[in-house]
Symmetry: C2
């Protein structure tokens, strides 16, 4: 099953959101236009708007109101991708040349700033109270997650707790908030808002862990970047953490290779194979599945119907996703 | 007269704002703590909070409400300084080592993001409607100004209109909005809000033009960076624009020297002297004074009293300021 099949009934609304994002990023400004057209072309799953819209179906669904939160949430994600590119020196993201590769870092930084500011601006159109505060808080946490990721780079003594806190801040909270704010914007009952936040949080954790698994098991074509990119850039994710804990000799090899400035393709390949053999992928998959189980159970107290069924299917999709 | 003497009656409230900024930036996060303590130590005039507080005096002055806008406005300014340092490769700002010099660019970028997000978050505590939208819009314009500054760097064919639009977006609007939002937060009459916006806009333009003059006439000690830094970094400001227009030979020399990667101190000194001799400083001063005149006239329709008198004095101060 494809992800888009799950929310087929929202297809036309998602398209409207997409158009609105384009309008918002465009800015009628030559520099930004070129930068943002790359960003839009590189696309993405628009997973955050999907969560907003599905969650809003638990209340009074009105796209005119809901879009004021769906668009900013996706834009905040896009802004963070732009800044990630400045940070990661990633030359490729989803196969498209990054903004950084075409323009220099400075334009990329301010383009990210611009997208953030436009997102905040659009969210001020929301009528439901408290939405701006929740959104701003999610941005604050996201920034802390980014700072932590830099701090923890090449830190071989970090533990699982640091990893989980980081992905919570970097990924899970924005998805949790997408679900929560969709429900708030549609004036859904407060208990629903809370369960949807929980669902989003758990799904977000599973989503990021799956991403981190795929970075080791995916092919370069699937990933749009070489396998093992995270580790090569010093970002120690769950599979690597598990493997290094399990196999002290592998730990030593990884540190040695990565503390050197130059690491060749064969060495990367060897490290990836060793990590896979250590059982790290299976272990990480178990953890992701546990989060998905919790996500599904968060839905228990929500009324049955199409939106709940779609959210359940998304949880299944994330459990099965191959890239 | 010192700037602080003008708003002596607000001294204790400004101190409270200062404390609140510290609390907000601190974040209980080691990486940010170190970065932000440098930022706080480097200080600044806290001119935006001063404008907020003085403008609020035209309505119902309640610091508990007003601080929710004064603190974010100064933080947005601080966040932009942090990102400027990433951009400008400035090693020194007001004599303090920049965040960039101590940490790397990546931490600086996310520290800026964090400060922006915290600012937006705090502003959501405001009760007055519309404040968040005005603030977000000012941030959007500021980002556009930054992007324009990059676009116009080393552009020798730019005209005065481009310069004025840039400094409007980069500096003047945030000061205009400081005055406007202070009045809104204090529930001052709408016509006052508008006049205060105008005052802030004109003062902001004059403030930036004066800054750009000082970059040529100030000493390294006064500026905390070598004279002519703007031009050396390819930022063409009003005095340079005037001088290049007036003296085609100087224009040729400037372009030749700055298109070269290496420029020595003697050459910089020569260019600065030529710019001064061209009458550019006098011309720029006249323009700044015109803006200050407009700023003062915006105050005409406001009731007399301490706040109006202080705003007038600030306009005078900016006209006279030597660094």
């Amino acid at each position: 099953m494809k992800l888009t099949d799950i929310y087929l009934h929202l297809r036309s609304d998602i398209n409207k959101i997409e158009k609105e994002i384009e309008r918002n990023i465009d800015a009628n400004h030559p520099v930004l236009q070129e930068a943002s057209s790359h960003l839009l072309k590189a696309g993405g799953k628009r997973i955050r708007p999907v969560f907003v819209l599905l969650s809003a179906q638990f209340g009074t669904y009105d796209l005119r109101e809901i879009k004021n939160i769906a668009v900013p949430l996706e834009m905040i994600h896009m802004g963070s991708l732009v800044h990630d590119d400045v940070i990661d020196n990633a030359e490729l993201r989803r196969g498209e040349k990054t903004i950084k590769a075409k323009w220099d870092n400075r334009v990329a930084m301010y383009t990210g700033d611009y997208i953030f500011a436009k997102a905040v601006e659009m969210a001020t159109n929301c009528n439901a109270p408290g939405i701006n505060a929740v959104l701003a808080d999610a941005m604050v946490e996201m920034c802390l997650g980014e700072v932590e990721q830099i701090r923890d780079q090449y830190n071989w003594n970090q533990n699982l707790r640091m990893y989980f806190r980081r992905i919570k801040r970097k990924t899970a909270l924005l998805i949790a908030v997408s679900c929560q704010l969709g429900a708030i914007a549609a004036n859904a009952p407060v208990p629903y808002q809370k369960e949807l936040w929980r669902y989003g949080y758990y799904v977000g954790m599973a989503f990021q862990i799956t991403d981190d698994i795929l970075d080791f098991v995916g092919t370069e074509k699937e990933l749009g970047k070489p396998a093992g990119s995270d580790l090569i850039q010093g970002n120690v994710t769950l599979p690597a953490l598990y493997a290094m804990e399990k196999d002290p000799q592998l730990r030593k090899t990884i540190i040695e290779h990565l503390e050197n400035d130059v690491i060749n393709k064969e060495q990367v390949k060897g490290i990836i194979e060793s990590i896979k053999k250590s059982g790290a992928v299976v272990f990480s998959k178990v953890i992701a599945d546990r989060y998905l189980e919790k996500a599904r159970s968060a839905l228990d107290n929500l009324p049955d119907g199409q939106p709940k069924s779609a959210l359940n299917q998304i949880a299944n999709y994330i459990g099965d996703r191959k890239f």
